[in-house]
Each structure stands twice: as structure tokens, then as C-alpha cells.
């Protein structure tokens, strides 16, 4: 699949042993537990009369494993429901405001944070044991702070983060004797004509994150022109991350031919060679935008105490240390530790390299930017 199964393999193998047991148990549960029983979910595992609490999440979440671990840790019967990608999840939360589908949520990201806050979907809450350093990732939003009475409570609790960066196939550039690109501007250079794969920002939140970076870099007046130059330079726009990375990227392992793709800062950790000595790709750290994923308690939750316990669990050391392997993100808890390959081959961009915008500005501008792109390059 991806060219190398990596140093991460060792860590993975260890975990796999544990999780395969968990999965086997989960399978048994799924066999007996599903069907017409509407109100009791996986929680039958917890057994007894544990009070039920529901967490609504985006699609790439380890539902079953989490439900079991969180049930054990919190004493509640934790049920996990999926609600689509980050954008779909956020919109569903907004639509069901007042009569929430769940008690707590996880997976609202930087792009949609403003929408969730503006619509007052979440009940401000700060976990008692918020990891050191987590405050660095909180939403920079004055109104949320004032509603919550100073900075005592957070409407959105940061759980993990990553960075959207342009990735390149270093081998391709060496073989073709072309200098590696380094900046946004390089991608529009004729030297790199027809080599880039972008993500549709209207369909993918990774793509939207890249768009935010270009707005930050080129300004309200310049980003549309930049995208125009990109597409004029033969950039291909895919709908989703996997279509782009696996389908088009020359190091995606699926026969793609393009050596430049929008992906994550952590991606090079998954293209390490057999010996574990080098990665065949690298992230361009001057083209990164931070993406934080948030959790929170839903306003009107049937089980508010349970929701708080689940949010507590999401930022607990026990869960934080599983984040890199389960979700390919960095835990907000700096002490949780990262797989070796991440540190070596996939460093995070430094704070001053990031092209970030405040959540309010993103909420304010997102629709306008997307519609402008629709008009300029037909997205």
C-alpha cells in the first residue's frame, strides 16, 4: 500500500496485539448487540445499569474501542455515534441545537469551530485536568470567553491537532533534477507545471485548511488570484484527501504520478523506507496551517455530567497517548509522547511558520472565499 510499513510497525505490532483482542470482543458484541434494540448500544458491554451517555463523532474515530475504554474509565455506559466528516458533523450539531442527538461531541475542527460557537451549540466547560499546553490550542474567540465569564470555561475543548501542509516526493525531484519547491509561490511557478494535486476546499476540510493558509499568506485580495495561477499552472483538484494522496500522489502507492500534494505534516512518517532510515516524502513546513480538533458538552444534553466525564476522558493521559496511532493527529497533551517516526521524519511546523487565521475570521470569510473561488476557478 503506502510504500513502507515503517518504523511505526514496531509500535503498531505491540498495539495490534492488544487491540485485536479488543476487536475480537467488539465483534462478538456487534453480533449480539445490534438490531432492533434502539436504545441500548454497545454499552451492554459495561453491563449493569450504568447510566448512558452518547458521544457524537466524525467518521475517522475508533468508535468501538473508544466506547469500551471510556465506559471502563468513566463508569458510564458510553455510546459512540458517527455523523459524517467534520463539516457534516458541525452542521448536524447546529441543526439539532436544543434537542441534541448526543450528550457530548468530538471532531469539530478549526474550520468549523466558529460556526459551532456562533450557534451556541456547546455548553462551556473546562476539564479539571486539562493537559499542560492545551490552552495553546483553544479557540481564539472573545465572545465565547465573555459568555463563559472570562477564560474560565471553554466552549470547545482542544483534544488533538495537526497541520495541513504541502507534501512532496523528494525522490521524484532528485530523479528529474528539479529543485524542490518550498513555498506557496513556488507551486505557481511554471517549473512545477502540472505537478500539483490540491483538495477541493468545498468538499474536504483538509482542503479548506489549505485555503485558509493561502488566504493568510496572500490576503483577501490575493488568494483568488493565487488559486487561479495554481490551476493555470495545471494543478489538479481532487474531492477528498485519499483521492488526492492515494490516487494521484506519486508516493501514494497506487500508481499516482504527481509529486506534489496537499496532505499533513505527519504524512512523511508513513512513507519511511524498509530500513527505517529515511522517508521518501517531506512536508513543506512553510505551507502549513494548523488544524485543531475540539470536543465539548452539548447544550441541552440529557446527561450533562456524563458528557463532562467523556470530555474529561478525551483529554486524559490514557486516551491522549492513543491519538497518534488511532487518528494520525498530535495529542494536545505534550507529555503523551509520539511514535518515533513522527519525531524523526514528520516534525510539526514551528508556530511562526504557520499560516493560521482566527476562528471568527474563518467563520466570517469561509463562505465568501469558497464562492469567490467558485466564480474564479469554477469550483
Amino acid at each position: 500500500m503506502m510504500p513502507a510499513h515503517t518504523p511505526a510497525v514496531t509500535t503498531r505490532a505491540r498495539r495490534a496485539a492488544v487491540s485485536s483482542i479488543a476487536l475480537a470482543a467488539a465483534c462478538g458484541l456487534a453480533l449480539t448487540g445490534c438490531s432492533a434494540e434502539p436504545s441500548d448500544g454497545p454499552g451492554q458491554a459495561g453491563g449493569g445499569d450504568a447510566e448512558k451517555v452518547t458521544l457524537i463523532v466524525h467518521d475517522s474515530f475508533p468508535n468501538d474501542e473508544f466506547a469500551k475504554a471510556a465506559s471502563a474509565a468513566t463508569g458510564y455506559d458510553v455510546e459512540v455515534v458517527s455523523a459524517g466528516d467534520g463539516g457534516e458533523l458541525s452542521n448536524k450539531l447546529v441543526l439539532t441545537r436544543g434537542a441534541p442527538v448526543a450528550d457530548a461531541f468530538f471532531g469539530v475542527d478549526t474550520i468549523f469551530a466558529g460556526r459551532v460557537i456562533d450557534n451556541d451549540v456547546a455548553e462551556p466547560y473546562t476539564p479539571a485536568r486539562l493537559p499542560a499546553g492545551a490552552r495553546e490550542y483553544t479557540v481564539d474567540d472573545a465572545s465565547a470567553d465573555s459568555r463563559a465569564g472570562g477564560d474560565a470555561s471553554l466552549a470547545l475543548v482542544p483534544v488533538d491537532f495537526g497541520a495541513t501542509c504541502v507534501n512532496i516526493d523528494t525522490g521524484w525531484f532528485a530523479a528529474h533534477d528539479v529543485a524542490e519547491p518550498a513555498t506557496y509561490a513556488d507551486l505557481a511557478d511554471p517549473a512545477y507545471e502540472g505537478l500539483t494535486v490540491l483538495l477541493d476546499p468545498t468538499a474536504s476540510s483538509t482542503g479548506a485548511s489549505f485555503l485558509v493558509g493561502t488566504v493568510e499568506a496572500f490576503g483577501e485580495d490575493g488568494y483568488a488570484d493565487y488559486w487561479k495561477r495554481l490551476t493555470d499552472n495545471g494543478a489538479r483538484i481532487e474531492q477528498g484527501w485519499s483521492d488526492a494522496y492515494y490516487g494521484q500522489f506519486s508516493q501514494g502507492g497506487e500508481g499516482g504520478t504527481k509529486p506534489i500534494v496537499v496532505s499533513y505534516a505527519s504524512s512523511p512518517a508513513f512513507t519511511v523506507n524498509e530500513e527505517g532510515t529515511a522517508s521518501t516524502t517531506k512536508a513543506l513546513l512553510d505551507t502549513c496551517t494548523r488544524q485543531v480538533e475540539y470536543a465539548g458538552v452539548l447544550r441541552g444534553a440529557a446527561n450533562e455530567a456524563g458528557a463532562k466525564a467523556v470530555v474529561d476522558y478525551l483529554v486524559s493521559p490514557e486516551f491522549q497517548q492513543t491519538i497518534p496511532d488511532a487518528m494520525y493527529m498530535n495529542p494536545v497533551d505534550a507529555s503523551a509522547g509520539l511514535p518515533e517516526a513522527w519525531a524523526t521524519f514528520a516534525p510539526e511546523p514551528a508556530a511562526e511558520q504557520l499560516h493560521d487565521l482566527p476562528a471568527t475570521e474563518i467563520e466570517d470569510g469561509r463562505e465568501r472565499w469558497l464562492k469567490t473561488l467558485g466564480d474564479t476557478i469554477g469550483l
Binding site: 500500500m1 503506502m2 510504500p3 513502507a4 510499513h5 503498531r12 495490534a16 487491540s19 485485536s20 476487536l23 475480537a24 467488539a26 465483534c27 456487534a30 445490534c34 432492533a36 434502539p38 436504545s39 448500544g41 454497545p42 452518547t54 457524537i56 467518521d59 475517522s60 474515530f61 468508535n63 468501538d64 466506547a67 455510546e79 455515534v81 458517527s82 455523523a83 459524517g84 463539516g87 457534516e88 448536524k92 441543526l95 439539532t96 442527538v101 468545498t202 468538499a203 483538484i237 481532487e238 474531492q239 484527501w241 485519499s242 483521492d243 494522496y245 492515494y246 490516487g247 497506487e254 500508481g255 504527481k258 508513513f270 488511532a326 494520525y328 463562505e367 469558497l370 467558485g374 469554477g378
Partner: protein, 571 residues
């Protein structure tokens, strides 16, 4: 025949079915499916659309001129119609020879081929998209054709599942068409083609109209295929509603586009009803298929066309998919993707081994197929009757259209609509929004039109005089049903069951927009695997897609065997 009860007299009531029981029965047969559609379809969809037209509790229609004033809207509508029209025409053109070869000719392996040809129809659109782009995209074996990201590839990918729809819908009907008239025409001196065009084609018209309308609806609301293969450039109304709802939460714009979608669907239904009515005379249908003949020299053109269709439209993309599911990182052959399904590595977006997803999908699809079959049977019986009262006849026509609507309404609209309406609906004590029960219901909504469209042409094709004759000979309404309608339904019921089961099994759109309570059906697992970042996840997704295809083929093959010979022998 039922020999019990008092000797039946040909009473007026029995004859026209207007006894008190008869009225109660027909009312119930109408009310049950109607209630289902109203509660689980019309209410959610209309609620969401209403939300788009409400501004602080007041009606706000300003979105209509605004959206229709935008050039993008018209471009999108134009794309939708062009894609759907071309794909439907092509599907019918290629589907009729396929129907002929698969249902009128007899050759070894025919049954298996019939089953296999259903697979394209039930493969999740995600997979179809991936298969086509792996074939025509950069690095693919046919990349040099330059079809990637073109109008042509979208049309081709839309034809991929729909040739099967036409072949099956038309073929099932054709097989039981009495060939006497065509033979008579030949005897009277008409050439093969002339006899076919003047006798068989008009007789096939209702089935053709049904199939074409169905295909047009599928194509005009295609989602995954258009999104993956076309990108934004070739947006249709469906992907535009998705964009507005899921990305922008612009319910106003989405509501206006939903109206446009209703208009398109409505127009298709009116046109197809017209066509059907034009061709709607009672054709001579046999309750069992006419014996298929061995292919002769005159069948060569049809055979060639069929072979070309199967190879170019179907086999190539599927082969490309299967090949890729068997390729390792360095291009070596491997089963590792399949092994990963049984024992998913850490970090895979699977809730367990894929076997549990299969088992879950089968149970949910079985429930959905049951719902769809029961409702579909009732509906078909009701809709096949031609009430004497013009009001009732009009109502029947309207009802007929409502049944088709789930095919013509965006899955996003339905999914989000269910979300805002199914919170303890109708005084039911629990929140249906997060219930597993909602999944088979949503799937049944999608399968219902298929069941109805499969059964209805058969029932409508029954000569009304047969029923009158039975009644006047003393059969009571139930006996008429049991001896006239049901035997005719026999073969098609197996087909309808297979269709509804397979369609539910492969259903992706509506299922994926629900809030899923730990219920990962196979198509959802495929799409999550294909879209996930974990190394090996994409390949495992392709492998899961192959598994889904094989499973579906097996079900359709089994459905083929569900021929109810026993039932018809009695007749």
C-alpha cells in the same frame, strides 16, 4: 383454488371488489404504504425544505429569485439534464440487446451472467468512481484516451450500473411476453426487424418507459460518481445540494435547489406515465417465461453489442478494481488487503473484522427488503387497479408518483430531514434519530420504488378480462388475487426481492447521511476505508468493495433460483 366456504355466487360485490371487506382491504393496502412514505419521507424532506424557506418563523421566498438568478444554478441544472439524458439514452440502447441476450436466448451460464450483471447496479458509487478513475485517470491503463475529468467519463460511469437496470426490467418482462404475435407477423411476411419494431417493441413500451424513467431518476440524482469523477466542474443538482447543505449550511439555497429537483423528477414522472399509458394495453403475458431459444446467426449483432457492452463498460473497470485490490505496495501480487479485512490492523476505521460488517449489513438489508417487499406488493396491487371513479384514478396516479420520489430526492435532504424530525416522532417514546431502526427504514425507501417498478408492469399487463372472468365464474376477490395476480407475480417477485435486498445491501447515500449508532454497514465500511489515512486502508477498502460485489452477485444468483414454479403449476 380455494375449495372452502359456501359455493360462491357471482354477486355484484364480489365482482367489483366493493364488499365491505373489499373496501377495508384496499383501504388498508393503500394506507399502510402511504403512511410509511408520509412519515419517513415526505415529512422529513418537507420539514427541511420548510426550514430553508423560514426566516425567524416567517415565510421567506426571497431565496427563489436569488438562486434562480444565479448563472451557476442554470449551469448545474443544465449539467444534470444533459448527463442524465445522455446516460439514459445510452443505457436503454445498450440495455435492450442485453435484455434480449440474457432473457430471450438460451446458452450455458446464462443464469450466472444474469446474476453477475446485477453487480454493477448495487456496487456503491464510491467504488464505481474509484474503479473508473483507476482505469482512465493518470497512471491508469487507459489514461491516454484523455477521458479523465470529462463529461464522457461521467456518462460512461452512469451507464455502468444502469444498463443492468434496463436489461433486468425489460428482460423480465420480455421473457414472459407471448411471442405468438411476433411469429404471426413473420408468417404474414414481415421481416425480422419489421416484426420486432411493429409488434414486440410496442409491447415492450411500458417496460421500456419504466426502465428509462428509473434510469433517468438515478442519473439525475447521481452523487458519488459525479463528485468523484467530475469534480466541481460537472456538478449536478444533487452534488450542489450536498455542497450547500453539508458545507455551507445554506438551507435556503438547498431548499430552492430541492424544488428544482422536485420539478425535474415531476416532469420525468409525468412523461413516463404518458409513455406508459400510451403503450398500456394489456399485452399477452405468460405466467412463465417462454422457452428461450438457442442463439442463431441472426442473433450475432445483438450478441456482439452485448459482449462489447459487458467488456468495455463493465469488465474493464471491475477488473481494474479487482487487480488493484490484489496489488501490494511494490506492485507485487498479494492477499494482504483481504487479510487486513479479517484482522484489521490498528488504526483502521473498522469497528471489527469485516465479517461483522457483512453480517450486520445482511441483517439490516433483510429487514429493509422485508419492509420494501411488503409495502411494494401492497402498492403494486393498489396501483395496478384502475378505479372507475376519475377522482380515485387521479389519486392513484399521484400516489404512483409519490412512490418514485425517494429516488428523485437528494439523500442529503432526506438524511438531514430525518435528523430534524425523528426526535421522538408521533409520540413514540424514544429518539429515532440515533436508532439502528432508521437505517433499514431509509434503505427500504430507496428499495421501494425498485420493487414497485418491477412488479407493477407485470400486474398492469394482466388482461383485466381475466379478473372479470374469474370473478364471474364465482371467484371471490381474494381468490382472484390468489389465482390471477399472484401467479403472474411469481417470477417477478423473486426478482423484486433480490433487487430490494441487493439495493439495500449496497445502499450508501441515505445510510451515510444518517447518524450511525455504531452500525457500520459494508458500503459505509468501504467508503471509510477508501477515505482513511491509515497505511493499507485504501487497498483494504478496494478489497472490501470486491467482497461486497461478490456478496451481491451471490444474492442475485440466489434470487434467480427463487423461481416459484410450484405456485404456477397449480394455476
Amino acid at each position: 383454488m380455494t375449495g372452502e366456504g359456501r359455493a360462491a355466487r357471482p354477486s355484484r360485490g364480489a365482482r367489483s371488489g366493493t364488499s365491505a371487506w373489499g373496501i377495508a382491504g384496499w383501504t388498508l393496502a393503500t394506507a399502510i404504504p402511504l403512511a410509511f412514505l408520509v412519515v419517513f419521507f415526505l415529512w422529513p424532506v418537507l420539514s427541511l425544505i420548510a426550514t430553508g424557506f423560514a426566516d425567524d418563523g416567517r415565510l421567506d421566498l426571497s431565496g427563489i429569485p436569488e438562486v434562480f438568478g444565479a448563472s451557476r444554478t442554470w449551469r448545474v441544472i443544465g449539467q444534470t439534464l444533459a448527463q442524465a439524458a445522455l446516460a439514459s439514452a445510452l443505457s436503454v440502447l445498450l440495455g435492450v440487446p442485453a435484455a434480449y441476450v440474457l432473457y430471450k436466448l438460451d446458452f450455458p451460464g446464462r443464469g450466472i451472467l444474469q446474476g453477475i450483471l446485477t453487480v454493477p447496479f448495487v456496487l456503491p458509487t464510491v467504488v464505481v468512481g474509484v474503479a473508473f478513475s483507476s482505469l482512465f485517470g493518470p497512471g491508469g491503463p487507459l489514461a491516454s484516451l484523455g477521458l479523465d475529468r470529462s463529461f464522457a467519463i461521467i456518462v460512461l460511469a452512469l451507464v455502468f450500473p444502469n444498463v443492468s437496470v434496463v436489461a433486468r426490467t425489460v428482460g423480465g418482462f420480455w421473457a414472459r411476453l407471448d411471442g405468438t404475435s411476433e411469429r404471426a407477423a413473420r408468417v404474414l411476411g414481415a421481416g425480422r426487424i419489421r416484426a420486432w419494431c411493429t409488434v414486440t417493441l410496442p409491447a415492450l413500451a411500458p417496460a421500456l418507459a419504466s426502465a428509462a424513467a428509473l434510469v433517468f431518476l438515478f442519473c439525475s440524482t447521481a452523487f458519488g460518481i459525479v463528485l468523484i469523477l467530475g469534480g466541481r466542474e460537472f456538478s449536478n443538482v444533487e452534488t450542489e445540494i450536498y455542497r450547500l447543505t453539508v458545507q455551507f449550511l445554506d438551507l435556503r439555497g438547498a431548499a430552492v435547489l430541492s424544488l428544482a429537483q422536485f420539478a425535474i423528477v415531476g416532469a420525468v414522472l409525468v412523461v413516463s406515465a404518458r409513455l406508459r399509458r400510451a403503450g398500456e394495453r394489456a399485452v399477452e403475458l405468460r405466467e412463465e417465461a417462454e422457452r428461450a431459444k438457442r442463439p442463431g446467426r441472426a442473433d450475432i449483432p445483438a450478441l456482439l453489442l452485448f459482449a462489447a457492452t459487458v467488456v468495455l463498460v463493465h469488465a474493464l473497470p471491475i477488473a481494474s478494481l479487482v487487480t488493484r485490490s490484489l496489488r501490494g505496495p511494490e506492485g507485487s501480487w498479494t492477499f494482504e488487503h483481504y487479510a487486513a479485512l479479517v484482522k484489521p490492523p490498528d488504526g483502521f476505521p473498522l469497528d471489527g473484522p469485516v465479517t461483522s460488517a457483512i453480517w450486520l449489513s445482511i441483517r439490516i438489508a433483510a429487514a429493509a427488503a422485508c419492509i420494501a417487499m411488503v409495502l411494494g406488493l401492497l402498492l403494486s396491487l393498489v396501483l395496478s387497479r384502475r378505479p372507475r371513479s376519475p377522482v380515485l384514478r387521479r389519486a392513484s396516479g399521484l400516489f404512483d408518483a409519490v412512490v418514485m420520489l425517494p429516488l428523485g430526492v437528494s439523500a442529503v435532504t432526506l438524511g438531514f430531514g430525518l435528523l430534524i424530525t425523528m426526535n421522538k416522532p408521533l409520540g413514540i417514546g424514544f429518539d429515532l434519530r440515533t436508532s439502528v431502526v432508521l437505517i433499514p427504514i431509509a434503505q427500504a425507501l430507496v428499495a421501494l420504488p425498485l420493487v414497485t417498478r418491477t412488479l407493477l408492469p407485470v400486474l398492469r399487463g394482466i388482461d383485466e378480462r381475466l379478473r372479470f372472468a374469474a370473478a364471474s365464474l364465482g371467484a371471490r376477490p381474494l381468490a382472484v388475487l390468489a389465482t390471477v395476480d399472484l401467479p403472474m407475480l411469481g417470477r417477478s417477485a423473486g426478482l423484486a426481492l433480490g433487487f430490494s435486498f441487493a439495493a439495500s445491501l449496497g445502499e450508501f447515500g441515505a445510510t451515510s447521511f444518517l447518524v450511525r449508532p455504531g452500525a457500520q454497514t459494508l458500503p459505509v465500511a468501504v467508503s471509510e476505508l477508501v477515505g482513511h489515512q491509515a497505511p493499507g486502508s485504501y487497498g483494504a477498502g478496494l478489497a472490501a468493495a470486491v467482497v461486497l460485489g461478490v456478496l451481491t452477485a451471490a444474492i442475485m444468483l440466489a434470487a434467480e433460483r427463487l423461481r416459484t414454479d410450484r405456485m404456477t403449476r397449480e394455476f
